[in-house]
Symmetry: C2
């Protein structure tokens, strides 16, 4: 059972640097100790976020030997924690790690003070409770990040110095990697939070702008979810033709598709009787007004395409550019179907809503004329399944 410790340590370091999950890192270490060095159990208590205590993160070993789960937490004022926070082990034994056998001998030594012995007795009792013969603390700078507890060796022998050195080095590497992983995780969380902030602010502002148009309450939200539903279904059927970036762009484009209406006078948007040709033309400006609003934001370029072309028609009779068939970007064709369906099935200033079944028929009838057939097919499929 000879172990090339140097090699194992190197391999472990190499593997660990790319694991960005603290719990997994600790589990890897504990598993390695139990399986390679044949220790009955290895458990790790990791400082929790509130820094109020240490939680049992990992407990490896045979079921009967593991640290029981009801001992799942050690308080920050616990005797074991205080022992390591004060670096008592270093001053007594010349190293941070604590061995049960060394502590036991110290109790008999005339050179150890009485109070120290009392403290040690509590620590030993705690180790017995946890069925551990070695405790290895993990420090990061002045902070105690965690404690690794090791059970006896399966063959009953003592730990060799070389073995202990290896455990201490491995544990120290894991501590560093855990700290790194925590940082990495934090960055990831911040990134997600920032993305959500961006999306939610866009939703809120788009909704505010929509509120200007009294008759379209909830329109943006409905168009957005319908567009995304169509795209997801297309992805299922066509082996992920859309990547996550496309879906993100579609999301933003549907949220902002009518943003340009902010530039159309309220009295035209809310007019109850028929619009004049001039008024109609004013409304037809909204996709390009939207483009002008979004133009300064380079990252929204792809989404802007959806805003720009969501009123184009498959037969080329749409606006603003009269693009035809395949010339119309998919992102715009998807929004077009979702937008038209929602417009037909809700009240407008100049007419009441169509019944849903009529609106669905209308979409079907206009497939290949107003709408891209491959998208209406998906839309009609979703309707049949009752998903719309």
């Amino acid at each position: 059972m000879a172990i090339d410790y140097k090699r194992e340590l190197e391999n472990a370091a190499r593997n660990m640097i790319f694991v960005h999950d603290p719990d997994l890192l600790i589990r890897m270490m504990a598993r390695m100790m139990v399986s390679k060095a044949r220790i009955l159990h290895a458990s790790f208590f990791l400082q929790d976020k509130t820094k109020d205590g240490y939680a049992l993160t990992v407990s490896k070993g045979s079921l009967s030997k593991k640290v029981p789960l009801d001992l799942i937490r050690i308080d920050k004022d616990d005797v074991l924690i205080r022992f390591f926070k004060s670096h008592m082990s270093r001053s007594l034994f010349g190293r941070e790690a604590l061995l049960y056998s060394e502590a036991k001998s110290a109790l008999k030594s005339p050179r150890v003070k009485r109070e120290t012995k009392q403290g040690l007795m509590h620590v030993l009792y705690q180790m017995e409770l946890l069925d551990s013969v070695v405790c290895i603390p993990s420090y990061f700078r002045d902070e105690l990040l965690g404690i690794l507890l090791l059970g006896k060796k399966a063959n009953g022998r003592n730990f060799a110095e070389e073995e202990l050195d290896f455990f201490i080095a491995l544990n120290s590497n894991v501590t560093m990697a855990v700290r790194n992983a925590q940082l990495f995780k934090q960055l990831g969380v911040e990134l997600e939070r920032k993305h959500q902030l961006f999306v939610r602010t866009t939703v809120a502002l788009a909704a505010a702008i929509e509120a200007k148009d009294h008759y379209t309450h909830g329109h943006t939200t409905r168009v957005t979810s319908l567009s995304l539903e169509i795209a997801h279904r297309m992805n299922q059927k066509n082996k992920k033709i859309f990547d996550s970036k496309f879906l993100e762009n579609l999301h933003i484009a549907s949220l902002l598709h009518d943003i340009g209406k902010i530039g159309v006078p309220e009295h035209i948007l809310n007019k109850r009787c028929e619009l004049t040709v001039g008024e109609r033309n004013r409304i037809k400006e909204h996709p390009m007004i939207g483009v002008n609003i979004l133009k300064p934001i380079k990252e929204l370029e792809a989404s802007m395409i959806g805003v720009r072309y969501h009123h184009e028609r498959f037969d080329g009779k749409g606006y603003p550019e009269g693009l035809k068939g395949e010339q119309i970007p998919l992102i715009a064709s998807i929004i077009s179907v979702a937008d038209s369906f929602d417009a037909m099935s809700s009240d407008r200033p100049y007419r009441l809503a169509l019944p849903k079944s009529h609106a669905v028929n209308e979409i079907s009838n206009l497939s290949g004329r107003q709408f891209c057939p491959s998208i209406t097919d998906i839309f009609l499929e979703l309707c049949k399944e009752g998903r719309i």
Copy 2:
């Protein structure tokens, strides 16, 4: 000059895991090799982003011995690169690292094929050019991330096996850390990009909403920069009373301070004659309309305070709540001064702009009545310096 290699390696690993700058990591390694192991020079060629070649990232050693800077790049088809990409060193010498002396001996060996010898000769020539006796490649999975080139030892001796092992292990750790650092950097860049996307989208939508109010072109931008200028000056004078979070909140709050105007009818906003009491009250609703728009976004809570209270007055005669003096949050008091100054110094539907000096006087006169004196003081200071 005995080196405890194990200890050095451990220390290096510990230090490196928290360095999130690839270049710095490589520099640390090169410096260590030159200073601790007394090597005449150490240079590192790192794969560049386009993966078209390898750029000289670090070159440590005495000036005369360093790899010259005009050899700053090795093409991906270079003989040295191809040698390591094909793992030729492993098949010839049983390890990835290449020693000049071993390669030289191989040229004389009858067991090495003729073509191989030809390749080796080119490699040796390249090493001579780079004044190197050891090349250590860095792999990550199947990719060659870089090559470390080492010069002769200062004492003229050969490298000991133990030393070589140490260099290889250290270089392998650095490679991992570099990869990790690259990932970290990338996350940081994405986070900044996402933040910019959020800010710029907010700017664009706020500007679009402002465009509804024909007379306030550029108002939001000016209020935002004036508010931030006031806050920065307050920070300079009062030892950073505001943290970066406050400044970020102020930025967003000033961008969105008038967002609620989207809920006020256009004909009231753009009315040329005097407003009726009823119309005035409609306008006074805009802070609370803004609050309602932003309420769903938890992260904007602090910014919302600025939107809500930017029309409160120091003497308690403002709206919506009639808060007084210290009750008014600083974020709102800052926007209030910036907003009022910009409103006075630009044209409005019902009056022309005041000359700038009059507007400044007006702010000064209203200090302690409409405005918080500590903020008008800062504002007036900036005016005196010609910064406004």
